[in-house]
Subunit: 152 residues, 2 copies
């Protein structure tokens, strides 16, 4: 996992601020979801997040989780990733920017940054007279461990 570049408390502070800015009201769940994603450090599905919240509050509904994830993504507190066939997964945005290496066999997700690639992406966009807003790069691989397993 890439380093987290901000403490949880600082993120929650920004979240509260963003909620006020949007004329919304505070809610336990929004902070809870941010905390869960921060603490897990990995990429969780809406379902997994819901299950996690339910360990503390049995009545948590997955629709609220979806609503909150939508808000948090819009406000850039979290980012979405589509690792394969099954639906989206989310991770806390307060990490250094990175891309993903996904094992097609075991589903393991690793993170990486390659400065040269980042640079070239900007240059490619410029060549097309386009303004680069974001990018998504996923390398689909068979990881070292799975390669060994398959051989055996």
């Amino acid at each position: 996992m890439k380093n987290r570049v901000e403490t949880l408390e600082s993120i929650l502070e920004r979240l509260r601020h963003s909620i006020r800015q949007n004329g919304l009201k505070n809610s336990k769940q929004r902070e809870e979801i941010v905390s869960v994603l921060y603490k897990s450090g990995t990429h969780l599905s809406p379902e997994e997040i819901t299950t996690n919240l339910r360990t503390r509050d049995k009545s948590t509904s997955i629709s609220s989780v979806y609503r909150i994830l939508g808000f948090l993504e819009k406000e850039k507190f979290i980012t979405a990733l589509e690792p394969g066939k099954t639906g989206k997964r989310y991770e806390i945005a307060a990490k250094e920017h990175h891309d993903h290496i996904i094992c097609l066999n075991c589903g393991d997700i690793q993170e990486f940054v390659d400065d040269e690639i980042e640079l070239r992406q900007i240059q490619v966009s410029k060549a097309y007279k386009a303004k680069l807003i974001s990018h998504d790069m996923r390398l689909f691989v068979i990881c070292g461990r799975c390669q060994k397993q398959i051989k055996e």
Copy 2:
């Protein structure tokens, strides 16, 4: 659009061979879908493909289209792309490999290849002791035309 590296007839020849290899039977629709994608040269949704087929055969069902798209993708005659919120789009695989630049405003999709990026992707995988199977890179941008429009 990147250059097509094979004629339609040659692709259909390979398709017929692949069908025999798989112990399947010939069908008009499989060839039709390959032709439609080849001739369009762009990225079509299952819905658009169905609509196109229906101009010649009104009874074409979208479920058959999905079934065939699944087969054609498995056999690498076509490749899938997820350009944004809405579902998959498919393009003929008989083009040079390329990645995509997608305009977030108008949805326009351009294709490009950057050799340096391709190379670094392989190196990154190696650094993780992983075997690179495929990759997906999408640059989300505001294209030149849309930038102008927004200013006006």
